[in-house]
């Protein structure tokens, strides 16, 4: 325990320190412009002239003004405490004290990241299930049918070079025109991103049994279905979970991408709204929320993996 906690803490502290230091030069120009508007004397000439000077020079020559970079309204790089404050305000703060918060209304407020994380989570899980199921089915097909293996596999690789993210708005419009609305279009994009790792992992996993194990099945004249159920599927479980962990993270990205164009809630919509109104702290808070969600989902997969493997008698 201590062997991991201490190094992680050290790294986190180092990152925080770096972050605080970086926030000063990152925000210095805007800080100086504001100070100038407020009538302060600023080193470095006019705003356009300052544009050509190095940020560090501006920091060093305006030492009293520089620390304001930690408390700006619209920072280029918000200081960690600003992000944390926003994260708190848009979760617990909003739900407990907000006008539309959970405590007041019994429903999660649409101004809170908890609500939006929920929206995203729903579509992610649906998309993940679709993607994982499609991936497993495709892998079974590929393993059992050489024609499918040879024809589909190269195209599956190429399909991943298509910037689906760029296509997301189009896909949503097209699906919309076919009457598919709400959670499903997002889930489909999410499924598209998650099926590939599952296919790759499952094909590997279903092919994991060695010739000897397959020959055994053959000497018992087991059918293809029996070999699949009693040998290939159990043998593929570790591979399956390894790819599910990648897939669920990809799923989340897919959902967020699907939420960008349609401003109907979810962390993606939230990030964009933050960006749209220049609310840097809001983007960062949504971003961290997404990362936390991803970490939770991956952890969940790991937990399921451990449970499954234990149930299968594999030593812990």
């Amino acid at each position: 325990m201590r062997r991991t906690v201490l190094p992680v803490l050290a790294v986190v502290l180092a990152i925080l320190a770096l972050w605080y230091v970086a926030a000063i030069p990152m925000n210095i120009r805007e800080v100086l412009t504001e100070a100038e508007r407020a009538g302060a004397e600023v080193w470095g000439g006019t705003a356009p002239e300052r544009q050509d000077r190095s940020a560090w020079a501006l920091v060093v020559r305006n030492p009293d003004l520089a620390p304001a970079g930690w408390s700006q309204e619209r920072p280029r790089l918000p200081a960690p405490h600003q992000v944390v404050r926003e994260l708190y305000a848009s979760t617990i703060g909003e739900e407990v004290f907000g006008r539309r918060g959970f405590v007041q209304t019994g429903e999660f407020s649409n101004r809170s990241l908890i609500y939006h994380a929920g929206v995203t989570l729903g579509a992610t899980l649906v998309g993940f299930l679709i993607g994982a199921a499609a991936g497993v089915l495709l892998a079974v097909g590929i393993v059992h049918n050489r024609a499918m293996d040879m024809s589909v596999m190269p195209w599956a690789v190429i399909s991943q070079t298509i910037p689906i993210v760029a296509l997301a708005p189009m896909i949503i419009v097209v699906l919309n025109s076919m009457g598919v609305q709400g959670l499903l279009p997002k889930a489909i994009i999410s499924a598209y991103l998650s099926f590939f790792p599952v296919v790759v992992g499952m094909v590997k996993g279903l092919r994991a049994p060695d010739q000897m194990q397959l020959d055994l099945m053959h000497t018992w004249s087991a059918s293809g279905g029996e070999t699949l159920r009693k040998l290939r599927l159990p043998a593929s479980v570790p591979y399956l979970f390894a790819s599910l962990k990648i897939a669920i993270a990809a799923s989340l990205v897919g959902t967020i991408v699907g939420e960008l164009p349609v401003q109907r809630g979810g962390l993606g919509a939230r990030m964009l709204a933050g960006s749209y109104y220049g609310q840097t702290a809001q983007i960062w808070a949504a971003l961290f929320m997404a990362a936390i969600l991803a970490a939770l989902l991956v952890w969940l997969m790991g937990w399921l993996e451990r449970r499954t493997l234990r149930a299968m008698g594999v030593p812990a």
Binding site: E30, P48, R74, S109, N110, V173, S177, R264, A273, G278
Partner: protein, 309 residues
């Protein structure tokens, strides 16, 4: 009740207050309409949505609508709530830009995704090339969603709407004196914004025309209500915003500016303004937005029916 799906051009904000108010205040219901409002967003093209059958009527800018018409999506303007144009180019005054000619050799932020047409027409009328920074050309950036390029001085000028981005610049602490605005209207290159468009073939159906008439009537009622009650309208918009990211202050100020653009509008398209828009779009030099004057791109049939009552 008749179902109507309305696709907006952009995210839920006071720019579309009239429709939300009509929905919220039951004006649509009074007209026996069941209206669904689909918010837009970046990279959602209302023209594409309606072409695919995802909406009955869309809020769109006329340049994009006419361009789509040439692309084979026969859109027809049935109503024009916005009489004025809110588009402008906002520049830092300290860059020394005072007149359109000063734009040469500068970096400008422009919205694309079908919103670039007015800008391109304007530049071609000024004889300024848009493919690079030089003596008689400008460098064009595909502006993102916000006003950061200006604040960070990555661009000398950016596109803003009087009712939205311009306010955002001010909200960021910039004083109006620090800025120079080129309103498209004042430059004589204004194009009609935020009209209501439907597919031409649907207008053959009298029932559809009637439905649209009721829709436009209720929507205009909503706009009037919104103009009269900007604070409440802003709150209604806020309540309909599923992202929960809007602030009441910003929406109220947006409502105030939008009111100016709507003015005394009845929703009826002013044919003169239409002709002006078409002229601007066709004047685009070697690469005009539309190549031929469109036929039947607007109708008063719906507004006539709406105003008849």
């Amino acid at each position: 009740q008749d179902a109507v799906t309305l696709q907006l051009k952009w995210v839920t904000q006071a720019q579309f207050a009239g429709y939300y108010v009509a929905l919220d205040q039951g004006f649509y219901e009074e007209e026996n309409l069941d209206v669904t409002i689909l918010p837009g967003g970046p990279d959602i093209a209302p023209t594409q949505v309606i072409a695919g059958g995802g909406a009955d009527v869309v809020v769109e800018w006329m340049p994009a609508a006419l361009a789509a018409r040439e692309q084979g999506v026969p859109l027809v303007n049935v109503a024009q709530p916005f009489q004025g144009s809110g588009m402008q180019l906002t520049c830092w005054a300290d860059t020394g830009i005072t007149a359109p000619e000063d734009l040469k050799n500068r970096t400008l932020g422009v919205w694309f995704f079908g919103n670039e047409y007015p800008f391109l027409s304007w530049m071609s009328q000024l004889g300024i090339a848009t493919d690079g920074k030089d003596e008689d050309g400008v460098e064009v950036l595909k502006q993102g969603f916000n006003v950061d390029p200006l604040l960070q001085r990555q661009a000398d000028c950016i596109s803003t709407m009087t009712y939205n981005e311009y306010n955002q610049v001010l909200e960021a602490g910039v004083t109006p004196e620090e800025l120079v605005n080129f309103k498209y209207e004042e430059q004589g290159v204004a194009t009609l914004e935020d009209g209501l468009y439907v597919l031409e073939e649907n207008l053959q159906d009298p029932a559809f025309v009637d439905k649209m008439a009721r829709f436009v009537r209720a929507s205009m009622k909503g706009w009037q209500w919104a103009e009269g009650n900007p604070e409440e309208a802003a709150q209604i918009v806020l309540d309909n915003d599923e992202t929960g990211a809007q602030t009441i202050e910003h929406q109220v100020s947006m409502m105030t500016e939008v009111s100016k653009l709507i003015g005394e509008s009845t929703g009826e398209l002013d044919p003169a303004a239409y002709e002006r828009t078409v002229a601007t779009l066709m004047a685009g030099g070697s690469d005009p937005v539309i190549t031929a004057a469109p036929e039947g791109a607007w109708t008063h049939a719906v507004t006539d029916a709406a105003l008849a009552q």
